[in-house]
């Protein structure tokens, strides 16, 4: 179940007169031509963030989101109701994004430093003091995220960047809670030396290696 701050955003965006997601999906299945559009409109901003942060490329993200939207439209009958509609939508988007990444692996990657990509992926940093600093931070975050294995990035993006709970992400990704925790932990460990200058003082970047022995300890 999607909860927390997203729920508040969701309710704020919908207003009290809007029907629940599940009801919209039911109406869509019954032939209502507007129901799916209304449902998707509610969530597409957040689904866009999921796709973009997962694939780190706006063109690929747009493709992934459109693929996912059409899949959900056509396969709405497959929704069994054992999870929230939003969880189901997120799962489709993540899977479409990961599939894009798999196919993209066989093609040349987007040139590093593409400002359009960086801006789209990283957004703006509220703690940046000037545009140059913000741009630098964006490049750092984007570059760092690209260093992660796809599945680690997907988990970390959902938990740390988009604020989903570990349990929600487990449901979205179809993996165990422990696996989500592990992927996030390993992702943070990889990012720590790359982002240390943004969030604090890196004490020892070399300790990403398994173990380290200090003398005189």
């Amino acid at each position: 179940m999607i909860m927390g701050r997203r729920k508040a955003e969701h309710q704020g965006a919908l207003g009290s007169e809007d029907v629940p997601d599940a009801e919209l999906l039911r109406r869509h299945l019954a032939g209502d031509g507007d129901a799916f559009g209304t449902l998707f409109l509610r969530h597409r901003e957040r689904l866009w963030a999921v796709a973009l942060r997962t694939v780190c490329d706006p063109d690929e993200a747009a493709d992934a989101l459109q693929d996912a939207m059409i899949s959900a439209f056509r396969r709405a009958g497959d929704f069994r109701g054992d999870s929230a509609v939003t969880t189901w939508l997120h799962r489709i988007v993540v899977n479409a994004s990961l599939d894009r990444l798999r196919r993209k692996a066989a093609r040349p990657v987007t040139a590093a430093g593409d400002e359009r990509v960086l801006e789209a992926v990283a957004g703006s940093f509220p703690f940046a003091t000037d545009p140059a600093e913000a741009s630098g931070i964006r490049m750092d975050v984007d570059s760092a995220l690209r260093m992660l294995p796809d599945h680690q990035r997907a988990a970390l993006v959902l938990v740390d960047m988009l604020g989903y709970s570990v349990a929600e992400v487990a449901e979205i990704l179809g993996i165990s809670v422990g696996t989500v925790k592990s992927r996030c932990a390993r992702g943070r460990a990889r990012l720590a030396p790359l982002l240390a200058h943004l969030g604090g003082n890196p004490r020892d970047a070399s300790r990403v290696s398994p173990e380290r022995t200090e003398g005189g300890g």
């Binding site: 963030a49 899977n95 720590a192 604090g200």
Partner: protein
């Protein structure tokens, strides 16, 4: 060796801090509790989460929103045209199976090009937007082939706002106004003989209170020369909708936009504007709102 101290690696600390249950978790936790260096490392890992959380979600770009709206309109129209009340299920989809997601077949249309073979181009010009028209259903693909074989199907597109003249031969508004309305010649499923009006996808959110002003504003803006890709099915459905809703009024343009935040079709003639649902067609054409554009 005496005097040496072995510290757990960052991944072990990350596992511990992140609540991952491992065989060494208890030992690592005990070590962190007594080791300032590893405690600092734990805090540093926490700061990674803080940095990532500080990045605001990127807004959905307008061109992507319009593209999604157009793709969804195509899906809805295809569904209406097929007469199905249930979504198509024969197309491979990004099912939430935890495995790979197979996207639906689609056609990528680079700017200004027509893809009669329905194949995705290998590369696109750098920096150019990609517009993809989902292939609705096999029967509609066959209809599209018929149209393409007839040479009457022109799809062109550009940035925002976008528009399409679904029939290059009948693209002249003056010619369209001479056409008899509500005749079989004006609407033949599978062969696009109209519409001779401009179809846009501006992503404008028309509102009840400002519908008239918004329609007049769009009406006074120059018609985009290139535009939104429409499948034969969606074009036919739209044409049927327009004929039923606008009656004897010749539309100046149709906007696949939003109304009160929801996907809607805005039909604007010289003296009147109507709002219908996206699923509007010749048989289902409920008007959600309308306004007169004549007078002050």
């Amino acid at each position: 060796m005496k005097g040496q101290r072995t510290h757990p690696g960052a991944e072990a600390i990350a596992d511990c801090v992140g609540g991952v249950r491992t065989w060494r978790a208890r030992r690592v936790a005990a070590h962190i509790a007594g080791c300032p260096s590893c405690s600092a490392m734990g805090r540093q890992l926490g700061q990674v989460s803080a940095v990532l959380a500080a990045v605001p979600p990127p807004p959905l770009p307008g061109d992507v929103a319009r593209r999604l709206d157009a793709a969804l309109a195509t899906e809805v129209a295809a569904r209406v045209a097929s007469g199905s009340t249930l979504p198509e299920t024969s197309v491979p989809a990004a099912v939430p199976s935890g495995s790979s997601a197979v996207p639906p077949e689609s056609v990528v249309l680079p700017p200004g090009s027509v893809r009669p073979d329905g194949q995705r181009p290998r590369r696109r010009p750098s920096g150019s937007p990609r517009w993809r028209v989902p292939r609705p259903v096999p029967v509609l693909t066959a209809l599209a082939c018929l149209v393409l074989a007839g040479g009457g199907y022109l799809i062109s597109q550009s940035g925002k706002p976008s528009a399409v003249s679904a029939n290059s031969a009948a693209g002249s508004a003056a010619q369209a106004q001479r056409q008899p309305r509500h005749t079989g010649a004006a609407f033949r499923p599978g062969f696009i003989e109209g519409p001779a009006y401009n179809v846009r996808s501006t992503n404008t959110d028309y509102l009840t209170a400002t519908l008239r002003a918004q329609a007049l504003s769009e009406l006074s803006s120059p018609a985009p020369s290139k535009g939104t890709p429409l499948s034969p099915a969606s074009s036919s459905a739209l044409q049927g909708c327009v004929m039923e809703v606008a009656g004897n009024d010749t539309p100046s343009f149709v906007d696949l936009a939003r109304y009160q935040g929801r996907p809607a079709t805005i039909i604007v003639a010289r003296d009147h504007a109507w709002v219908t649902s996206r699923g509007c067609n010749a048989t289902q054409h409920g008007v959600l709102d309308s306004v007169s554009l004549s007078g002050g």
